[in-house]
């Protein structure tokens, strides 16, 4: 008997334990990832200045996203002597770099530029993804810098790219009571600004075509608000339709084959679909209210718009071919200028409550409303191509009040003013350039 018990006792010890200690971490820190971007190596003597300019743009893009923080170059222990030189990871780890960018730039005599870069994870001492090489004319160095930054940003954050994109907006000059408004286009960071219309035209509400090669907008040049489409490169423009009514808020569908707009007739404003090639139109909403500010869902199947059909200005969603509209905003105050996120999961909007304006986001069923900004006048949100950032304009109060462009992360963090030569309003973000 004793032997048996002993055996059983020993069996319990002899059985191997498969115990695996498992712990769960549910809280983390919220802070930008520290990244080291040492000087880019100039592989040809004439590329030194260019290498530094590209590095500066890459760093500005990444830091501007709010998700990364650059470790000051004065803190660097190592330098990158050559693109292929071994990396002293310990030197980068000591200064708490999470990621390290190495890059080189060379310039041929015919001004052809070669930019190579790699991204490393310092802790694991491994390359993240593939290194890339861009060959392009020197004149495109800013776009190449944005593309390098997009690659790094995408790999580190999991978000889509957005630095290589453009903004079309209304540039405003002069005193408040006699302001001249011009249609303008620029890189997302305010560089390479170009004016598309003269100072005598009154233009409002520009939007890009899906391939960002055209801009559709409302102009008063015919004496009443009409819809025009302009080719961004050539500057040539055409009036989309000669309908006698006042037309506002035109937007291209994601496939570029349809335009939806507001048509004001006898004091009533409804949404219409318009074929931009034939000029054929059909009415989408029939109500005694003002239906305007439409925005397509990314798949083009639905439209979100604002309407005061229930008394106050609210946000509604309806099929893009027409049909019953469903109200999604039910909070206090009024809601306007809804814009569907390129991700498809959120609607950005302007909210007016208690004499103040807010930019906010909500899920497409109206839940999870979050207000991101608040001021005397914040209006007209537009999404970055990756659905992570919103740009809008903020107008200051008073006789000298004027609008400027701002961007904010969808977390509500990282509010930044976008630098423009003059006042600016009504921004619209393109997709990532092709």
């Amino acid at each position: 008997m004793k032997r048996v018990l002993l055996a059983l006792f020993l069996i319990s010890f002899a059985l191997p334990s498969f115990a695996q200690t498992r712990i769960e971490v549910t809280e983390g820190v919220i802070e930008p990832l520290p990244i080291a971007i040492p000087a880019f190596v100039a592989e040809t003597p004439n590329a030194a200045g260019l290498a530094e300019e590209i590095r500066t743009i890459v760093a500005a893009d990444l830091v501007g996203s709010g998700l990364l923080r650059e470790i000051p170059r004065e803190a660097h222990i190592s330098q990158i002597s050559g693109f292929e030189a071994p990396i002293q990871f310990q030197d980068w780890r000591v200064i708490n770099a999470t990621a390290l960018v190495t890059a080189s730039v060379s310039l041929s005599t015919d001004n052809q530029m070669v930019v190579k870069f790699r991204l490393f994870d310092v802790a694991s001492q491994q390359a993240l993804g593939k290194g890339l090489q861009f060959v392009a004319p020197q004149g495109t160095w800013r776009r190449i810098a944005h593309k390098v930054a997009d690659s790094i940003y995408t790999r580190l954050t999991g978000e889509g790219p957005y630095f290589d994109s453009r903004i079309v907006f209304i540039s405003e000059e002069g005193p408040k009571n006699a302001r001249k408004k011009r249609l303008a286009i620029m890189d997302y960071d305010g560089a390479n600004i170009r004016y598309l219309t003269g100072a005598d035209d009154i233009v409002i509400a520009p939007r890009f075509s899906p391939n960002a090669k055209e801009v559709i907008y409302t102009s008063y040049e015919t004496g009443q608000p009409s819809i025009f489409v302009m080719d961004v490169d050539s500057g040539s423009k055409r009036q989309l339709t000669t309908l006698p009514d006042m037309l506002f808020s035109p937007r291209f569908a994601p496939d570029g084959r349809t335009v939806v707009l507001s048509q004001s007739r006898g004091g009533n404003t409804d949404l219409f679909r318009l074929d931009p090639f034939t000029g054929d139109s059909n009415q989408l909403t029939v109500s005694a209210a003002i239906d305007t500010a439409p925005s397509f869902s990314p798949d083009g199947s639905q439209i979100v718009f604002e309407s005061d059909r229930s008394g106050g200005q609210q946000i509604y969603i309806m099929p893009s071919t027409g049909g019953e509209a469903e109200r999604i905003s039910f909070g206090d105050g009024r809601y306007g200028t809804p814009v569907w996120s390129p991700r498809g999961d959120k609607i950005a909007f302007t909210k007016i409550l208690g004499g103040e304006f807010y930019i906010g986001v909500m899920d497409i069923d109206g839940t999870n409303e979050r207000l991101l900004t608040r001021s005397f006048l914040d209006e007209g949100p537009t999404w970055s191509p990756n659905g992570r950032v919103l740009m809008f304009f903020r107008e200051t109060a008073g006789a000298n009040g004027a609008p400027n462009l701002y961007s904010v992360d969808i977390t509500g963090l990282n509010l930044r003013k976008v630098s423009t030569p003059f006042f600016a309003s009504d921004p619209a973000w393109s997709g990532v350039l092709q």
């Binding site: 712990i23 390359a127 993240l128 392009a136 004149g139 790999r155 978000e159």
Partner: protein, 350 residues
């Protein structure tokens, strides 16, 4: 006779109890059953899975082992090759128009070498790459937007040189990654050891044999085995065979470890699907509290889902940046292998 009968009856009872509750008794209290299946026992299917992508997993594990310090560049290629996940694929797709990959499957070299070789080998790199560029640009223009004259700024072209393999990256992407850092090879390799397996399998096998015979055989075998391996009474250490069940970490010790790691865990909030980016990392620790090898992705089974690559990276960074871990040496057996769940659900609306 009576005694024999009683013994037999008692043993029957014991055996039945063992069959019913043995799993729970001999299992660590806080270990969920699926952990045991996934971690300790590797089925033939899993083994086959592991065997399949062996080419991918090899390079992934080898680099850290081979030359950690001297040839950092050797590490470069390894990850790129083994990381054809969604995130990377997406970013490279975006650049795809500008990028031409240089396939050379044979040459084992790393991305770094490829760049060098390529640049060096080509008599005049600039001239040679220009065609690649135009070709790439034309291709995309054709596909994406049949367009009129491109502005000069849009004519840039690119090449990826860096990657070594001529892989059909798209289709193989996710599965290849499955084989990633499985950092604990020894344990899973399954040669069916009756002594250990039986306890768990018993409910199935017991009825087939004569119970008494089985009990006798069991007792003899267990006795032999237990006596052979028995008395290692000193607490922890290098106990590869027959170690006593490890003394678990106390709640305080485990909490300290969690607090330590969460101070190093930084995940970009605001990601679209943050709540679904829970990852479980498996790590091996040496007695000094440093991570041995590359942390492995225990769950999910692949990096294919968008964002999982970044979640895995963030978790790996947290684990590596927080080392060494100051844990009680006498309980080494309890923490030499850890599974750490990184669950960002609570960080969603930060």
């Amino acid at each position: 006779m009576d005694i024999g009968l009683k013994i037999s009856a008692a043993l029957h009872v014991v055996l039945i109890l063992l069959a019913l509750f043995g799993g729970q008794i001999f299992r660590a209290d806080d270990t969920p059953p699926d952990v045991v299946t996934t971690v300790s026992l590797i089925s033939q299917g899993e083994l086959a899975l592991l065997a399949q992508p062996q080419e991918a997993s090899q390079p992934l594990q080898s680099p850290p082992n081979t030359q950690p310090e001297t040839a950092e560049e050797n590490d470069d290629p390894v990850l790129p090759e083994g990381v054809p996940d969604e995130g990377v694929a997406a970013s490279e797709d975006n650049l795809g128009e500008l990028v031409a990959e240089e396939p050379d499957p044979e040459v084992k070299p790393e991305a770094a070498d490829v760049i060098t070789n390529e640049v060096n080998e080509k008599p005049d790199p600039v001239v040679q790459e220009a065609p690649v560029e135009t070709q790439a640009t034309e291709a995309t223009e054709g596909e994406d937007q049949p367009d009129e004259a491109q502005e000069a700024t849009q004519q840039e072209a690119t090449t990826t040189e860096i990657v070594t393999e001529a892989e059909e990256a798209a289709p193989t992407g996710a599965p290849v990654r499955t084989a990633i850092p499985r950092a604990r090879p020894e344990r899973p390799i399954p040669e069916p050891q009756p002594e250990t397996e039986i306890v768990e399998e018993q409910p199935d096998t017991a009825p087939e044999l004569s119970v008494e015979d089985q009990i006798q055989a069991e007792i003899e075998r267990a006795l032999e085995q237990a006596l052979a391996t028995e008395p290692s009474t000193e607490p922890a250490g290098n106990s590869d065979q027959g170690d006593p069940s490890p003394v678990p970490l106390t709640a305080t010790e485990a909490n300290a470890l969690i607090f330590n790691i969460q101070s190093c865990w930084s995940l970009p909030v605001g990601m679209q699907n943050l709540a679904e980016l829970t990852v479980v990392l498996g790590i091996d620790l040496n007695p000094q509290g440093f991570v041995d090898g590359t942390p492995s992705l225990v769950e999910p089974s692949s990096l294919g889902r968008p964002g999982i690559q970044q979640a895995y990276d963030a978790a790996t960074r947290a684990v590596l940046n927080c080392q060494p871990y100051n844990l009680p040496v006498e309980k080494y057996d309890a923490w030499k292998q850890l599974e750490i769940v990184f669950n960002p659900e609570k960080m969603v609306n930060r």
